[in-house]
Amino acid sequence: MIFELFQFKFFFNAAFAALLTSISCGIIGTYIVSKRIVFISGGITHASFGGIGLGYYLGFNPIIGAICFSILSALGIEFMAKKTDVREDSAIAIMWSFGMAIGIIFIFLTPGYAPNLLNYLFGNILTVSLTDIFFSLLLATGITIFFVLFIKPIVYISFDEEFSRTRKIRVDLLNYTLISFVALTIVLSIKVAGIILVISLLTIPQASANLFIKDFRKIIIYSVLIGFIGSMGGLITSYYLDIPSGAAIIFLLVLIFIFLRLLKFLLTRARQQNQNQIP
């Protein structure tokens, strides 16, 4: 029954997009969660809405606008927080709402109806085009190669930036590169889960994996796996129940998280009882 679905080209595209998004989000999300920059990522996500609005108004692909806005806001937050006296969470809030404001203004100014606006806000993996897949493939490949090559400095700098500076590592360059990858991953995942939900693709699989695993590299692998199960499951559920795919994916991911958390609780209790019985 499920295999029939793959005869539809749109479904095949969606499944492929789910796989590529799981890879990019699994890797980048591990970086975000380990380094505790989830809030920055939320800011970048919402700031990208400004680019979407600008795309509508000037008539170019809104995703191109979103890419520009997300990278600029990512670098802007990093710069404001590190090199000026603006506090980091304030810098995030400024970028977050400023991007949204620009988006709302331009969409309001665009004459007529803004098509597919809801897809950008809530995501619709079934509308993924071949072009989207091409860019997702490019990004997933790029991120994978970058992380395989630079995994040591990425982990060490995220763990202890100051110590890395005493070792003369080019911390700033690596941080700016990584935050740009974060921005690109977010924008290319917007089609899957939408601006409002995309942050969960970057955090729930990692939080689930982190329940049992405390190693950066292994969290990446299990996050990709959990992300893929969640997005494929959500995709199929959304098709049969006729509900929005983005929300279905997130719902399933949260269910996986709750299940694993319960499992951990039961395992811990069983182990404690075992220990109590020994003496």
Partner: protein, 256 residues
């Protein structure tokens, strides 16, 4: 006996953050066999001084020279930061933290060699944490965490070990172990230890640097009350009798 060589010297260094001067009038040298305690009140500039020495903070004026090297690299300085600045839930193992002490700017991609892994294993063996090398840092006690950071600081065989408040958040057992370890290390390398707990460190160190905006070098591990008053150092009085001990005395506030 040969005169001990200089490892680094500060000449008339003035430093701080965002235009504000935190330490001024800083001139001293660190020699090969030194065991220096950096003491002073919180906010007095102890950590600022350490950052200047490590090359993390550029001084506003003055000069720092390193010998025989020209910069504070991994073969000159090993550094143990304050624990509170570490994220203890970060998913990284003890072994990985120790190996990170070998990271170099021009070899970011390269994998660790067999020899380097052996170095890490030896260092962990020495510090007694070889059995827990696969454990995540979040599962360690305060003392085990400090041993891990000690390994990271020492794995590159530096000539100078700098410790910033190493006895914060650790049990008494580790604290006494630490001084024994440092005492042994001091036979081969110089040590600079930052502490606000002057009572404990005074009997272990050889000389004292008192940091309270101004920086003063004492060529002894004892300070008299007169000296303290002259330096505006609101710290406890240190002295040693036949049995090493510390006479504690509340210092008068500066305005009086």
């Amino acid at each position: 006996m040969n005169k001990p060589g200089k490892l680094l010297e500060l000449i008339e260094v003035v430093a701080g953050y965002g235009g504000e001067v935190i330490i001024s009038n800083t001139s001293f040298s660190v020699l090969e066999n030194d065991f220096i305690g950096i003491i002073g009140p919180n906010g007095g500039g102890k950590t600022t001084l350490v950052k200047v020495i490590l090359g993390l903070l550029k001084p506003y004026s003055g000069q720092i020279n390193y010998f025989p090297r020209t910069e504070p690299d991994d073969r000159l300085i090993g550094y143990l930061p304050q624990v509170h600045h570490i994220d203890k839930k970060f998913p990284i193992s003890v072994e990985d933290v120790v190996l990170s002490g070998l990271m170099k700017k021009d070899r970011l991609i390269r994998r660790f060699t067999h020899h380097e892994r052996k170095l890490a294993a030896n260092q962990m063996e020495l510090m007694g944490i070889i059995e827990i090398r696969k454990r995540a840092v979040g599962e360690l006690s305060g003392g085990q965490l400090q041993r891990t950071f000690l390994c990271r600081a020492l794995i590159s065989s530096p000539k100078l070990l700098i410790l910033d408040e190493p006895n914060n958040n650790v049990d008494n057992k580790f604290e006494s172990d630490l001084y024994r370890i440092l005492h042994d290390l001091n036979k081969n390398i110089a040590i600079l230890i930052v502490s606000h707990d002057i009572g404990t460190i005074s009997s272990h160190i050889k000389t004292i640097i008192c940091v309270n905006r101004d920086v003063h070098y004492h060529q002894s591990n004892m300070i008299t009350e007169d000296q303290l008053r002259a330096y505006n150092c609101p710290i406890q009085l240190i002295t040693h009798g036949e049995i090493p001990h510390t006479v504690l005395k509340t210092h008068q506030s500066l305005s009086q």
